[in-house]
């Protein structure tokens, strides 16, 4: 039982290492850049999968939470505090909350530590998700979709129209995020492998956390809400509390992804908050099989990677739309929905049995 549960995670970790080794051997390490970005987007998708697939609540505004993470860290860490006379800046320096850095002109500057901005971003996002979650999660179906979409549009308009957030240009020149032990999140091509593993570690950690969550008492409560909210309520499950909890959790996942990706890219722009981004996240969750974290992860990695690499050039979105339609038409449960998985494993089992029993009749 335990073994069965840990096996896929170990497999994921192995796949991550093998892919890195392959790209390094072949001298194609630049593939890792898009893969790192795809991994951060996958964090958003994983959080959304638990919200949509297990708790049955749609959110068409998750790009807003992602943008809140990215913009909070960008606003807090870009200003140079060493020359600032603001009492808060002095206080931050005195408390040791800043990190030294060298800017493009070779001058020494002091930025607020990204750890502080990460904490602020998480608290802010959790607070906002909590406050808007209370009224929003009372709604259902199309009305819930509309309300979360509305929240996303409001955040998009605010980042697009406010000078503090750089309006249409966004914010650039984010300092690198120095983690413990010399690990750094930044866009420096020399740190590609390191950054790939940081992102991969976050995805694996998030995956383990969510897999345990859905396997716990909370997970059972969530599934009961998805089945029938009234019945769950009657059974004594505090449905509105659990819905709120999971909404906040998935918002925090998106926020953390936003913080890390902003430091990796060295910038953040309003396109991260666009409605189409949110829609894309929802679509990937549905295409991956709704209540299936592995399906969501697989579809998220593949689709994000292909689109970030510009594999299809100007036909990129067309291909994405086409994939959505085809999967929904032929695999309405998502590509890795339970029914399809059964069919696949069944086919694989038959293939293996055919090979061992039939010998030469097997596929050679």
């Amino acid at each position: 039982m335990r073994f069965k549960k840990h096996l896929p995670v170990a497999g994921l970790a192995a796949a991550i290492v093998i892919f890195q080794a392959l790209t390094s051997l072949l001298g194609r390490e630049y593939y890792l850049t898009q893969l790192t970005m795809a991994a951060y987007y996958c964090l958003v998708i994983l959080g959304l999968t638990v919200l949509m697939g297990y708790a049955g609540q749609i959110s068409m505004g998750h790009a807003a939470f992602f943008a809140m993470g990215g913009y909070t860290t960008a606003v807090l860490t870009t200003p140079d505090l060493s020359t600032s006379a603001h009492p808060l800046a002095r206080l931050a320096i005195d408390l040791g909350l800043t990190v030294g850095d060298v800017n493009a002109f070779g001058d020494g500057v002091r930025h607020l530590s990204p750890w502080v901005s990460l904490a602020v971003a998480v608290l802010l996002t959790a607070g906002v998700a909590f406050l808007i979650g209370i009224p929003i999660l009372k709604l259902k179906g199309h009305y819930l979709a509309m309300a979360t979409l509305g929240f996303g549009i409001i955040v998009y308009r605010i980042v697009l129209g406010t000078a503090l957030f750089g309006e249409a240009d966004g914010i650039s020149d984010l300092p690198p995020f120095g983690l413990a032990g010399g690990l750094t999140v930044s866009g420096d091509p020399g740190l590609r492998v390191q950054n790939y593993y940081i992102a991969a570690f976050l995805v694996v950690a998030g995956m383990v956390l969510l897999l345990n969550l859905i396997d716990s008492r909370v997970g059972r409560a969530l599934r009961s809400i998805h089945g029938s909210e009234e019945a769950a309520n009657a059974m004594g499950v505090d449905t509105s509390w659990y819905k709120l909890l999971i909404f906040v959790l998935s918002a925090v996942f998106a926020c953390v992804a936003g913080v890390f990706l902003a430091h990796f890219n060295g910038g953040v722009g309003p396109s991260e908050a666009e409605v189409m981004k949110s829609v894309t996240y929802v679509a990937i969750v549905a295409v991956g099989g709704m209540a299936n974290l592995w399906g969501a992860l697989a579809m998220g990695m593949v689709l994000n990677y292909l689109s970030l690499r510009g594999y299809f050039g100007s036909y990129d979105e067309l291909v994405f739309g086409g994939i959505l339609i085809v999967i929904m038409l032929f695999f309405p449960e998502g590509l890795l929905g339970t029914e399809n998985l059964k069919r696949l494993t069944g086919a694989a089992a038959r293939l293996v049995r055919g090979k061992t029993a039939g010998g030469k009749h097997g596929i050679s």
Binding site: G141, G161, A283
Partner: protein, 296 residues
């Protein structure tokens, strides 16, 4: 605020509101017969506008618009025929994803057929600088065209659903699909008709607003979002609600510009909408149970 300025804001609110109302009615027609929120609704406006612009190079304007409406409604029928019918016992989320996929595909095809240039139809009467003085407020004659076309569409639909056999059959599908089928109504055909009708209405609206707002391959998305908002605000499936909702959103937008920066226009109107929605989750004229049904 002086009276003429007030009137000017109100007029711009009514104009935008009537466009949103038409998009919302397009949503409602399809929602009523199928339970689908068709996220490709905004693309019908774009297709109508674009096709009419291309055709107007070869033929007189009214003919180009008529042809664009017919072509777009055929595209609506094709969408139903090739995609919606293929869905076997779909969930609401399946259908939403398919229509989102369709809207992306249509938009991207339009990008490759036309390119990303901003185009517009010529003014139906007069030109950019013609304006009519109405009690101190100035309006372009095209605004009157938009208002007129919206009003005629609403009245036409009212008669269509009340007095024609097709319209009544569609209403029967709306209230109960199985019962309608048992009564001998070809429900599949009704779904096709609803797609054609909402595509045609969208295309007509797209032509009417093209001279004022310009047409571009991606102009459908924002209109669809506004139309969706209005449809929900008015109560899904309710055409009177759509008109009232459209006016509310149009007015909120118009007057929010007078107190806050233009960049926040959408944010303000949607924030107020959300407040309304929290107070009355089924929308202004929606049935109470509608908000509880149709889950994901």
């Amino acid at each position: 605020m002086p009276f003429d300025q007030l009137l000017q804001y109100a007029l711009s609110g009514v104009t935008n509101g009537s466009i949103y109302a038409i998009v919302a009615i397009g949503f409602n027609i399809i929602y009523n017969t199928t339970g689908i929120i068709n996220f490709a609704q905004g693309e019908f406006l774009m297709l109508g506008g674009m096709t009419a612009i291309s055709l107007s190079a070869f033929m007189p304007l009214p003919l180009a618009i008529l042809a664009a409406v017919i072509i777009t409604s055929c595209i609506g029928a094709l969408i139903d025929f090739f995609f919606i019918r293929r869905l076997k016992s779909p969930t609401v989320l399946n259908m939403i994803i398919v229509t989102i996929g369709l809207s992306i595909v249509i938009r991207e095809i339009a990008l490759h057929v036309w390119d990303e240039k901003v185009r517009s139809l010529p003014y139906f009467t007069g030109n950019e600088v013609t304006s009519i003085n109405l009690l101190g407020a100035y309006i372009s004659p095209q605004v009157l065209w938009v208002l007129g076309i919206s009003a005629v569409t609403v009245v036409f639909l009212g008669f269509f659903f009340k007095f024609t056999l097709t319209g009544r059959s569609m209403r029967a599908c709306a209230s109960n699909m199985t019962a309608a089928r048992l009564c001998g109504i070809n429900t599949g055909a009704m779904v096709t008709v609803s797609f054609m009708l909402s595509a045609a209405i969208g295309a007509l609206a797209g032509c009417a607003i093209s001279p004022i707002t310009q047409t571009q391959y991606d102009c459908g998305t924002s209109l669809a979002i506004k139309g969706f908002t209005v449809a929900i605000l008015g109560g899904l499936g309710n055409s009177t609600g759509a008109v009232i909702g459209g006016m509310v959103v149009g007015m909120l937008e118009a007057f929010s510009i007078s107190v806050l920066p233009l960049a926040y226009k959408d944010a303000i109107s949607i924030a107020i909408l959300l407040l309304i929605l929290f107070a009355k989750p089924s929308g202004l004229l929606g049935k109470k149970e509608a908000a509880g049904l149709k889950e994901f």
